[in-house]
């Protein structure tokens, strides 16, 4: 019996589940019982963080600074000076780029001093939107061809005539400032991690937490450290978008064949030559894919950075959503999607573009397109400048079309939504009510009625069965941290919403994925659909669901399901399609039917990979559930959101963010341990 149990994992899990149920039903609900809830011993952590930040910003490391007004030295905290100068530097860059697109006098003023501001001509003229559209056409054509040229230019043309040019350029300026910084930082730390094992091992947990923490939670501390505004948004974006670059850099460098490194050494490279002439160029493709990731992450974050005062599309979107102007929000959402798609396609085309050989070309031939663009821009700028005399009321439509003068489909959308509401209200509402009363609330109550001891038995037991004592302790420690706080119930609500979303997403993803993987064309199609959906900033998913289901938990669930189904589908397709053809042939020759093939050959081999997809699904679902606080939920996300407007929110926001990150990491640990072991067992890698 006992040896039987030792060898069979399914029996172990069964036993675990039975003990979980026993504990669930027999531990009484009693606030004083340790088995029911642990005491909030770690209640003080948010306060500690707040005090720490407070001291850092106002008390510690003061240095005397000469104040010319008072003619005396004044003590100022060093750290505050540092963050303030970083802020100023970022702000300068953002405004500089912004003024290139939109025109203005701040940058010139800051460089030359105030004295010139008096003159009217001291003004950086805006880049006419026509020039930007044509520039994108040329760029797209150079990178890939006429298709990309049309997508890029028509996309921005749409943005312009719909009057979203100004916020779009504000968002773009944030992306253009943050993306290069993320790239440089990511490359730097990636290289350090590659060269030094110790750096890599110490980077790893930081990256893990940074990549699984919900965006909101570090907005608050950034608010404290850097103030409010575009620069704070830039800092948040940099923190969010650098980790994937670091990872891809390390990954790309590690993939280089040792013989290439040796060939560099045998050519007599010193360390710098080896790094810059052999390693980095050889890993070029992975690094450029990293650039694509960075750009997409930057765009996603700049929209969310609206909550700490970053201007741009995100800000307008937030205002529209707050005012429940769904049509307007949808219109802005479309712009965000367009920009996401254009940036994604352009940067991917750039990453995949092979270097041309230039040796036989002269300067003009090499830079023909660029020279053409510059001349055209000058001409268009001149036309735009003089056309100011033709447009009355001070609007110059050749520079930009203001938001209230552009085309709009918001009324049509609103009418459409009204129609949907009127026509389907009964059904939508019935579905909504049914889901909330009979599924979501039931599930929520079940989660809230779970004694803490049974949670631990379940989670740590799973850890023990899958990864031995090590996994058991890691997972237990991560969850214990949450259980000892005063937010355990909130965490349970978050967990129930995430579980529901993950369950549905996993089923949907695996079913759709396995159907599509059967066929080459369908697989390609579904993968590009996944690509398409993954380019959207997560924010965008909320718009259509509010439109259909209003401000309810159902909306959050559906957004989370939509968002989280993408990785499940993608990994299922990839996993199934990577089953070696030799095995397929062997199956065919044994005479398997299609269903048998799926069940007995493809699924067992693809399952570890599919589980990694589920891992992603968990993270995506949690992110969206937290983001759902925008609509109004009552889980951890709600508190994190609330922190944004609370004076001492930084500590709580950060702590709760770390909680969410810990939930992700616990799940990640379980799934990854299992998948790695399984892959090794199957000889895949």
């Amino acid at each position: 019996m006992l040896t039987d149990l030792k060898n069979s994992r399914s029996k172990q899990f069964l036993l675990l589940f039975i003990s979980f149920l026993l504990l669930y039903f027999f531990v009484p609900e009693d606030e004083n019982s340790l088995l029911w809830r642990l005491p909030p011993l770690l209640k003080g952590i948010p306060l500690l963080i707040n005090n720490f930040l407070d001291n850092l910003m106002f008390k510690w490391f003061t240095i005397p600074i000469w104040d010319p007004d008072w003619q005396m030295y004044e003590d100022k905290p060093l750290f505050r000076l540092i963050t303030r100068s970083i802020s100023d530097f970022l702000l300068f860059l953002i405004i500089f780029i912004r003024e290139i697109f939109l025109g203005g006098l701040q940058t010139i003023g800051s460089l030359t001093g105030d004295s010139l501001k008096a003159y009217k001509w001291v003004y950086l003229p805006a880049l006419p939107w026509t020039a930007v559209v044509i520039g994108l056409f040329i760029l797209g054509y150079k990178l890939k061809g006429i298709g990309l040229a049309l997508i890029a230019s028509l996309g921005f043309f749409y943005v312009s005539i719909f009057g979203q040019w100004e916020p779009t350029m504000e968002t773009l300026s944030l992306v253009l400032v943050t993306a290069p910084i993320c790239f440089v930082l990511g490359l730097f730390f990636g290289i350090l991690g590659y060269l030094n094992k110790k750096v890599e091992t110490s980077l790893q947990p930081i990256l893990n937490v940074a990549q699984t923490m919900p965006h909101f939670s570090y907005l608050v501390p950034i608010l404290v450290l850097f103030g409010i505004g575009d620069h704070a948004g830039a800092v948040a974006t940099i923190i969010f978008a650098t980790p994937p670059m670091i990872r891809l850099t390390i990954l790309g460098l590690k993939k280089i064949s040792p013989e290439v490194v040796e060939s560099g050494l045998m050519s007599g490279c010193n360390r710098f030559q080896l790094l810059f002439k052999v390693l980095i160029p050889t890993a070029r493709r992975d690094i450029l894919i990293g650039v694509n990731q960075v750009i997409m992450q930057c765009l996603a974050m700049t929209t969310i950075a609206a909550f700490i005062g970053a201007k741009g599309l995100g800000f307008n979107l937030k205002v529209a959503l707050n005012g429940l102007k769904i049509g307007k929000a949808a219109e802005i959402g479309i712009c965000v999607v367009i920009i996401a798609v254009v940036l994604d396609k352009l940067s991917l085309a750039w990453a995949n573009k092979q270097k041309d050989y230039f040796a036989n070309l002269n300067f003009y031939q090499r830079n023909k397109a660029f020279i053409f663009f510059v001349i055209l821009t000058i001409i268009l700028a001149i036309i735009a400048y003089f056309s100011a005399f033709f447009f009355d009321k001070g609007f110059n439509y050749l520079y930009l079309i203001p938001f209230n003068k552009g085309l709009t489909i918001a009324p049509i959308l609103d009418a459409g939504i009204d129609w949907i509401w009127e026509t389907f209200f009964y059904y939508l509402n019935a579905f909504n009510k049914f889901l909330i009363t009979y599924v979501l609330f039931v599930m929520r109550d079940a989660y809230l009625g779970m004694p803490v001891i049974s949670t631990f038995v379940l989670v740590m037991g799973a850890g023990y069965i899958i990864g031995g004592i090590r996994s058991c302790l890691i997972v237990g420690a991560l969850i214990l941290f949450i259980a000892l706080s005063e937010y355990w119930n909130r965490a349970l609500i978050t967990a129930y919403m995430a579980t529901f979303a993950v369950g549905i997403s996993a089923i949907l993803g695996i079913v759709v994925g396995s159907i599509c993987a059967r066929n080459e064309i369908a697989a390609k199609f579904i993968l590009s659909v996944c690509d398409f959906f993954q380019t959207f900033p997560s924010f965008i998913y909320l718009i259509p669901v509010i439109l259909l289901f209003g401000i309810t938990d159902t909306s959050v669930m559906i957004a989370a399901i939509a968002y989280a189904t993408v990785p499940a589908t993608r990994y299922t397709v990839e996993g199934l399609r990577s089953v070696p053809p030799a095995l397929q042939d062997a199956g065919s020759m044994s005479g398997v039917s299609n269903l048998q093939r799926l069940i007995s050959i493809e699924f067992p081999l693809a399952f570890p990979h599919i589980m990694l997809g589920i891992n992603q699904t968990v993270i995506f679902a949690l992110f969206m559930v937290i983001l759902g606080a925008l609509i109004g939920t009552e889980d951890l996300g709600q508190i994190i959101m609330g922190c944004l407007s609370r004076p001492n929110g930084a500590g709580i926001g950060l702590t709760l963010g770390i909680f969410v990150s810990f939930i992700c990491l616990a799940v990640d640990n379980l799934i990854r341990t299992w998948a790695d072991e399984r892959k090794k067992l199957l000889g895949l890698n």
């Binding site: 064949s257 013989e259 290439v260 040796e262 060939s263 050494l265 045998m266 050519s267 007599g268 490279c269 010193n270 030559q273 002439k277 052999v278 160029p281 050889t282 070029r284 092979q354 270097k355 050989y357 040796a359």
Partner: protein, 346 residues
């Protein structure tokens, strides 16, 4: 003057003295305790893997030494010890009389930039550089101007027969062509010592044969000191002046191809030689008798000729032949019956 040259020729270009390479954390300590008696099994039990076990040999100027062994025999590790891509655990290695293992990083880089060239199994070309840029790479690393390095690289392109493809990228070339680039790159700095690590193993048999011919042609022109690593015994026999056969890090036998075929030192070596058609390997020299002026015909054969190439005419002539060397000096005589024995009797 001539004496000086003589002297220089007599110092080996590469000299290895009981070189050990043992992978593992406490390799150094284990080796010190073992007193030179390294047993792979006992080392493995203490978590160490023996790569090279007590290798000692000399390679003279212009000589081609082939290191032959199956995978895991330590042949590539030995090569990497001598190029110092891995650090030998103990022993001495001298390059042109200089102690390689005591060199600092700067000296090592200088040595590699001027004296060494290496060809790799998987070609190891830089994917972002064209053929000519790949070949010019070691020159530019050395600090040569772009123009000089390009014209030198162009010479190399011609030498390996890739003229007209200098602006191609590696991905646009076939395996054989890529390895030609690898060869050209390794020769660009005009090294004295040429390392080749299974250069033709990744190629198809027909291309491999072609590349071996090309390699022999190049060596005929350049006359480098060569260490060539292969797992292909036939390849070793075709190319080598000297063959070292390795097993589990130990050099089982180090000898000329003829001697290895005729007198295998161990059972392991014998297994390789059993199926080798001798007439395709042995030279006339290895079966000739001392010259006897009474009993020799007028027909002459070169001592360096492979038996197979002359077998038919020798057997047809039915008389004893005179063997000459490359200076047309008579060095011996050859009885056709010996040829028959080589071909049919084992």
């Amino acid at each position: 003057m001539s004496q000086l040259i003589e002297e220089k020729n007599s110092t080996p270009v590469i000299k290895c003295e009981s070189v050990y390479k043992i992978f593992g954390n406490n390799a150094q300590r284990l080796l010190e305790n073992s007193n030179g008696q390294v047993d792979a099994k006992t080392f493995q039990e203490s978590g160490c893997i023996v790569g090279v076990n007590n290798a000692s040999f000399d390679v003279m100027k212009g000589e081609m030494m082939v290191v032959m062994g199956l995978s895991g025999s330590g042949k590539s590790t030995l090569l990497r010890c001598i190029s110092r891509l891995t650090e030998a655990t103990s022993g001495n290695i001298f390059i042109d009389g200089e102690d390689l293992l005591s060199m600092n990083n700067k000296q090592l880089i200088e040595l590699r930039r001027n004296k060494m060239g290496m060809v790799f199994q998987s070609f190891a070309l830089l994917p972002h550089k064209t053929v000519i840029e790949n070949i010019a790479f070691p020159l530019q690393i050395k600090g040569m101007t772009t123009q000089d390095s390009m014209s030198k690289a162009l010479e190399m392109v011609e030498l390996v027969g890739l003229k007209g493809r200098e602006n191609y990228f590696p991905r646009e070339l076939s395996g054989g062509q890529q390895q030609r680039v690898g060869i050209a790159r390794s020769l660009a700095v005009e090294p004295d010592i040429w390392f080749l690590d299974e250069p033709f193993s990744a190629l198809d048999p027909l291309i491999r044969k072609e590349m071996q011919d090309e390699f022999l042609r190049l060596q005929g022109v350049l006359n480098k000191t060569i260490m060539f690593v292969t797992h292909d015994f036939d390849e070793a026999l075709r190319l080598a002046d000297k063959i070292a056969i390795m097993k589990d890090g130990i050099i089982e036998q180090l000898d000329t191809p003829d001697n290895i075929v005729l007198n295998p030192a161990t059972e392991y070596v014998k297994k390789f030689t059993e199926d080798v058609p001798r007439e395709k390997v042995l030279k006339i020299e290895s079966i000739m008798d001392p010259y006897d002026s009474n009993n020799s015909g007028s027909k002459q054969v070169s001592k360096d000729a492979i038996i197979e190439t002359l077998a038919e005419s020798i057997l047809n002539s039915k008389e004893v032949l005179t063997v000459i060397d490359n200076k047309n000096q008579i060095v011996g005589s050859l009885n056709p019956s010996k040829v028959i024995k080589v071909i049919f009797g084992k």
